[in-house]
Amino acid sequence: MRIKTISRSVDEFTRERSQDLQRVFHNFDPSLRPMEKAVEYQRALTAAKLEKIFARPFVGAMDGHRDGISCMAKNPNYLKGIFSASMDGDIRLWDIATSRRTVCQFPGHLGAVRGLTVSTDGNVLVSCGTDCNVRLWSVPRPSLEDSDLSSEKSTEPSAVYTCKNALLAVDHQFEGDLFATAGAQLDIWNHNRSQPVQSFTSGSHSVISVRFNPGEPDILATSSGDNHISIYDIRMSSAARKILMRTKTNSIAWNPMEPMNFTAANEDGNCYSFDGRKNEEAKCVHKDHVSAVMDIDFSPTGREFVTGSYDRSVRIFPYNGGHSREIYHTKRMQRVFCVKYSSDATYVISGSDDTNLRLWKAKASEQLGVILPREQKKHEYNEAVKNRYKHLPEIKRIVRHRHLPKPIYKAKAESRAMNDAKRRKDDRRKAHSAPGTVVTESHRTRRIIKEVE
């Protein structure tokens, strides 16, 4: 006869000294956990509510400019600093980490500064403006005396180049020392030459924005005032690709993780993601803004992008999703003209008409600072369990809820009513016509008129 019973010795299951860790034993058998789905659902509900409780995205505002902010630039080598330029020619370098103050000023422009960019090694700042000048500045090295707040340094430009017409945008090549300016025509400059190395003219309309491709150093995308988006290879003499849309594109951003794709921020309130190689239809249409989208920037992860729009809001979109996951707005923030996603993918900076730069968290309920591993695990668990049940009505209602400012809310309701009416009429027209005569255009091609080679 063989008999064995469960006998647990206490010292095997408890700790010896109070300095030791408590012993934890796991048994993953599902029969020990009845009603686990209901418990999970309850935890998802609590996680959704907690996320809303901790959602405080606004970190701070940086005051200093005396006119609306027209453009911003990130320094690829220095995480804490950001350059901003305003409509009265004032360029400043801000320290956004601890002090949120101006570190350095770059006076010199006489009119509005329309474009700012930094070279990839972080040494040269290029700015251009409506006073037809391109100015190159050498970026001061961040030193141990950074915390010296009393002296706001100001520097002299290292070079000033003049053009014939006002300049509207500038962007620097990722690997190399060429930069491109946009104005009456597209010019490619070298740091050391006072005249553009290369020029592209196309039509009579000005080029509004320019952006170099992060993957291919010689490819850039521009948008022009006659509703074209053009992709240039600077080794060739004319545009490689051209897309004609119905409304003009205010800004373009390339996806840093998938450099063949770019997203264009359009005047009709939508953002269109294109595959650079195949332009007949947009890969994705991102619709949520009610007014023109002024600026767009991708997160370094390539999974999200932030847009700033004329309707006084900043939205964060997923790279492949049609609707925004987040909207930031304040009563004091007026028309947003430029946005940037910080290089550590944690913050979003918006520059607006009310002369302030605002710093926001990219994930509104994120805990900043050092997080203990146990806290990190809990956050990850909460995210995972919330994503599992986020389609259920109670949780969806909490997760989706955002307070919108009244003008945006009303504009959206109106556009929804208009779209519903239009769709209903189109459906009826289709039903009463011979099958095949009325073709509904997909949203991805609706706003593209044609592709011009």
Binding site: M1, I3, I6, R8, R23, M35, T46, H432
Partner: protein, 534 residues
């Protein structure tokens, strides 16, 4: 070596395994099934490619986690289950507790004892979820809270009234006692915290752990559910079936089962006034009900000396055991069933598929067993009887490996406090009590009814009309055979046949209705917008 192969991606060539490792693989696969918690989704029917790839990668992840859990169960769990194996002609039910005591170590033999308290009446027992604390309530008013690991009497009080039932709340800090007129909630040091007047004289008290609901049935047959966190009476249901004192909670889904004197077992949830299920289990009154922890089996015993095992998925009887009238029943964590009758306890085990005799224990003749209950996470059966309480060893009844986050018998004060907070955060609302708890978050089945289409009904009608027309009428003689009358009769026949069909189409109303969806298929496309959209 083969373990590494299993851990890596399955792109490698299949290796031929030696036979003993093949056995381990089969064993692991069997364990994996338990952790997969059902079948995977059928992804073939999906047309959306993005969704398909997302779901496919998730299913792969589930498979990996099930494999990892199966391996942990096989290799890393600290303790193994108890067993009682006899060889040759010896039968397991002839093994006495004294024999067991000889074979087993000192720690386990401490769990065999009899506590004789003849003055205070038959004792009812309750254990906490971790099995560490026990509450004994004697009929004549004796309440005792005992720490089972150190055999320490933490607190005993004499309430000087009849105590009919006792129950722990979510941990050992609070317990409830159903006394003569009302029920009371006490703290661990014996302080009376609440008097639950609304319920009246309660016959049976049970606590639903996940929902923090204290359920009770009183002498008039009313069922009460009260949320003990803020004291709200969630439901008070008039069962309408008279007085009963047989009430058990199904740990799998939280439904409460009552056994009635007519032989029916009804199952209740707090959000409805009508029972979820009514089963006719016995010809006579039901004496006791018990639920298997996996939620699929229920044991009931009736006064006609039969014990029946029911499958709760199909609500069918699986097995009947004759011979004795079991006054009290209890399932252990490993599925052993203890039945107490008179002064005799029978333990039945299902090692051979059906429940059969595993062990038995008979007490001194005068002791009338009031309640048997298995102690969680130990191979121990607690017996409350008329002369006190006893504890006997039943090898193989308890779960050997506990999970510290679920129930920890070695809890410290800090851990107990943290656990209480987490339990409260995970408290389920009473609406989640349902017969199948895995339905939460699942898809609702489509409500499309299988109705015959209009075309099919027309075809049937045609056939029936043809049949009616083909009926030969008897030719009457003696002047009652006018041709007009004959045609009239034929027409009537056909009309009667046609009348039976419109009943199926229009139902009760007969009003002019919008064209149903099944008829939409044969409409011209310009009229399709008038078809009712479901």
């Amino acid at each position: 070596m083969t373990m590494e192969v299993a851990l890596e991606d399955n792109n490698l060539m299949e290796k031929v395994l030696p036979p003993d490792e093949q056995e381990i693989d089969v064993e692991l696969e069997a364990k994996e099934k338990k952790y997969l918690r059902g079948e995977g989704a059928n992804l073939e029917t999906l047309k959306d490619k993005k969704l398909k790839t997302q779901l496919a990668s998730r299913e792969k992840l589930y498979g990996k986690s099930a494999k990892a859990a199966a391996k942990i169960e096989k290799w890393l769990l600290p303790a193994s289950a108890g067993y009682l194996e006899t060889d040759g002609l010896e039968k397991t039910w002839r093994v006495k507790q004294t024999d067991i005591a000889k074979e087993v170590d000192i720690l386990s033999s401490r769990n065999q004892y009899d506590i004789v308290l003849p003055d205070f009446g038959p004792y009812k027992l309750d254990f906490t979820a971790s099995g560490r604390h026990m509450l004994a309530g004697g009929r004549k008013g004796h309440l005792a809270l005992v720490d089972m690991m150190s055999m320490n009497l933490i607190k005993e009080i004499q309430v000087r009234e009849t105590v009919r039932d006792v129950a722990f709340l979510h941990n050992d800090q609070f317990f409830a006692a159903a006394q003569k007129k009302y029920s009371y909630i006490y703290a661990r040091d014996g302080t009376e915290l609440h008097c639950l007047k609304e319920r009246g004289p309660v016959a049976r008290l049970r606590f639903l752990k996940n929902h923090f609901l204290l359920a009770s049935v009183n002498k008039i047959g009313q069922l009460h559910y009260q949320d003990v966190t803020y004291g709200d009476m969630v439901a008070s249901i008039r069962t309408g079936k008279g007085r009963t004192d047989v009430m058990e909670v199904n740990p799998y889904n939280g439904v409460v089962a009552l056994g009635h004197s007519g032989g029916t077992v009804t199952m209740w949830k707090p959000t409805s006034q009508a029972p979820l299920v009514q089963m006719q289990c016995h010809p006579g009154p039901v004496s006791s009900v018990a639920f298997h922890p996996n939620g699929h089996l229920m044991a009931t015993s009736g006064k006609e000396r039969k014990l029946k095992i029911w499958d709760l998925r199909k609500f069918e009887e699986v097995q009947t055991i004759h011979g004795f009238h079991a006054k009290t029943l209890s399932f252990s964590q490993k599925g052993l069933l203890a039945a107490g009758t008179g002064s005799f306890v029978q333990v039945l085990g299902d090692s051979s598929g059906d429940y059969s005799r595993y062990m038995s224990h008979s007490m001194v003749k005068g002791y009338q067993i009031e309640k048997v209950m298995f102690r969680p996470y130990e191979d121990v059966l607690g017996i409350g009887h008329s002369m006190g309480w006893s504890s006997v060893l039943i090898p193989g009844s308890g779960e050997p490996n506990f999970d510290s986050w679920v129930a920890n018998p070695f809890e410290t004060t800090k851990q107990r406090r943290e656990k209480e907070v987490h339990l409260l955060l995970d408290k389920l609302p009473p609406e989640t009590i349902m017969l199948d708890p895995s339905k939460i978050g699942a898809m609702r089945p489509s409500r499309r009814k299988e109705r015959p289409t209009r075309g099919e009904i027309e075809a049937e009608k045609e056939v029936a009309v043809e049949a009616a027309k083909g009926v030969e009428l008897k030719k009457k003689t003696k002047g009652r055979n006018k041709p007009s009358k004959r045609t009239k009769k034929k027409k009537e026949l056909v009309e009667n046949v046609k009348k039976t069909f419109p009943e199926q189409e229009q139902g009760a109303a007969g009003k002019k209705r919008r064209i149903g969806e099944d008829a939409a298929a044969d409409l011209p496309s310009s009229l399709k917008r008038f078809a009712r959209k479901n």
